[in-house]
């Protein structure tokens, strides 16, 4: 399925340059990819080309990520390369076109399948799209998994996670595993009893030290960049996403509990890397991925459950097998099958 992924110039997620899959490698993508590795596995799994197009839709996400941050728009414009006009994209070369937010007006009658993710679930675009895909799109990909899960016909809003595949990410990031736990930064902020939008502080550092003492093993957290909104520094740190992923892959355990946000994408990424995850029952991705013994309601049982996991290599294997099985089913096979089904329907109608 030949795929194009399209995002707007000021969207800080994804690569900061239009690039064809044939001109790069999975690891090479990170050379132009600051911030978070969201969509990286999707890109690799679909072997997709990326197009960066001029801004045509200024939604709540873009206002939050760009307009509220003085100087960021200029910085993103300065460092983003190969911006492509929409009219210059050879749509006829693609079976599937995925855009980030509904940034295209899709005319009827095209043979390609047009789908979009909403970048942020709190953006009104997301809520509006849940009812029906906007702007002539065929599919709205509801990453919070709060739309119908089965494919019924076109157009449709459908539950569709960010894709993950252990077979894609593990060969690229396979450093020696260490007895370290990664703690989601929101968990650290929760433990510091501060609001999620508060910046990293000596108090959060002190929390990390106490967590290490309590859990009895080193605790890692992406503290360098998390004080910046959307993990974007004053200048893009090329390779940051790769460094983050590599550091995460070194950890045997991953913890995401407390006041979390979103569907639980961080945990899915950790599970794809083979970390043994402890998650929270109110997060959609956590429910799909976590072994029942390690899906908690809150922070209270964390030290005891981690201890249980650390003490038994049999249990560790069981947890990993559970995670892998569910990752492949829910984050690879089912979503890809749905895309194929939708494409087939698009072509036959």
């Amino acid at each position: 399925m030949k795929t194009a992924i399209i995002k707007q110039l000021l969207d800080v997620f994804g690569p900061w340059s239009s690039i064809k899959w044939s001109d790069t490698t999975p690891l090479g993508l990170f050379d132009i990819w600051p911030g978070k590795a969201l969509y990286w596995e999707l890109t690799c799994m679909l072997q997709a080309d990326w197009y960066i197009v001029p801004v045509s839709l200024e939604g709540a996400y873009l206002r939050d990520a760009i307009k509220k941050q003085p100087g960021r728009a200029q910085m993103v414009q300065k460092f983003t390369k190969n911006v492509t006009e929409v009219a210059a994209i050879p749509f006829e070369n693609y079976d599937l076109v995925i855009t980030i937010d509904n940034i295209l007006d899709v005319p009827p009658g095209l043979p390609n399948l047009f789908a979009f993710y909403a970048q942020e679930h709190w953006d009104p675009i997301y809520a509006h799209s849940l009812r029906r895909p906007l702007n002539g799109y065929d599919l709205f990909l509801a990453h919070m998994l709060d739309a119908p899960g089965e494919f019924r016909g076109l157009p449709q809003s459908v539950s569709f996670p960010y894709l993950h595949d252990p077979a894609v990410i593990r060969p690229v990031f396979s450093p020696p595993r260490q007895d370290i736990t990664w703690m989601d930064w929101r968990t650290v902020v929760t433990l510091t009893n501060q609001p999620l939008d508060s910046s990293w502080s000596p108090q959060t550092d002190a929390t990390l030290l106490r967590a290490q003492e309590t859990l009895g093993l080193p605790v890692r957290c992406g503290s360098a960049s998390k004080s910046k909104s959307y993990f974007i520094a004053d200048e893009p740190s090329w390779g940051d996403a790769a460094d983050y992923t590599r550091a995460l892959a070194e950890c045997r355990y991953y913890i995401a509990l407390g006041r979390l946000a979103g569907a639980g994408q961080g945990l899915a990424e950790a599970a794809a890397l083979g970390c043994l995850c402890i998650g929270q029952s109110d997060r959609a991705y956590h429910r799909l991925l976590c072994h029942p013994k390690f899906l908690l309601d809150d922070l209270f049982d964390l030290p005891a459950r981690l201890q249980l996991l650390r003490q038994s290599s049999d249990l560790q294997q069981e947890v990993l097998a559970h995670q892998d099985r569910n990752l492949i089913l829910h984050f690879r096979d089912r979503p890809l099958a749905l895309l194929h089904q939708a494409l087939q329907m698009k072509r036959t109608t």
Binding site: L191, N193, A206, T214, L299, F300
Partner: protein, 184 residues
């Protein structure tokens, strides 16, 4: 003269610790009775649950050895004689975690006291979540009981609601079966 004094029990150096008595079967019985009285009478009245002083008074009146740590006491727990404490009551206006950390040598002991403290959300002023206090006590071997709104003491299955009075006790403590609501 303290009746039934245990010869090995050191007496506290500070007179500010409240009534101090060595542990004997009579005092164990008194302590148990005190907590039962707390459970059966004072804490049944929701208004009394908020008044921790009442709880302390009841327990103190029972001749339990009580060490009370308040907000202004800082690290002074280490400087006190703590060889014979049956109950540690902590009301440190959000600093409970640090007070309890300071009491490590006391709380790690096999005969560690029952700990009574409030799970109020004042801890954000000190940069930590109330669950951290529970994690710390868990490390010392404590288990938790919650004083419910009705005054009932029940084992705590997970995280307590905010603003709850908590009782932490080790299974080895003589009062533990009473807290669990089963006969000793």
């Amino acid at each position: 003269m303290i009746p039934l004094a245990r010869p090995t029990a050191a007496k506290p150096e500070s007179a500010s610790l409240g009534p101090v008595q060595p542990l004997s079967w009579r005092l164990r019985h008194a302590a148990k009775t005190a907590l039962l009285r707390v459970r059966n009478s004072v804490l049944r009245r929701p208004s009394a649950v908020k008044d921790r002083r009442l709880i302390l008074d009841f327990i103190a009146a029972s001749h339990m050895t009580v060490l009370e740590i308040g907000a202004g006491d800082g690290n002074s727990i280490q400087q006190r004689s703590t060889s014979c404490v049956d109950l540690l009551k902590v009301d440190a206006a959000g600093r409970e975690l640090f007070v309890i950390r300071d009491a490590a040598s006391l709380l790690e002991r096999h005969d560690a006291p029952v700990v009574l403290y409030g799970n109020a959300d004042l801890t954000s002023n000190f940069g930590y979540h109330p669950v951290e206090t529970m994690w710390l006590l868990q490390r010392y071997g404590y288990r938790f009981f919650m004083v419910g709104a009705s005054g009932r003491i029940t084992p705590l299955p997970g995280s307590p609601p905010r603003d709850t009075m908590l009782i932490a006790a080790k299974p080895s403590h003589p009062l533990y079966p009473s807290l669990e609501g089963r006969p000793r």
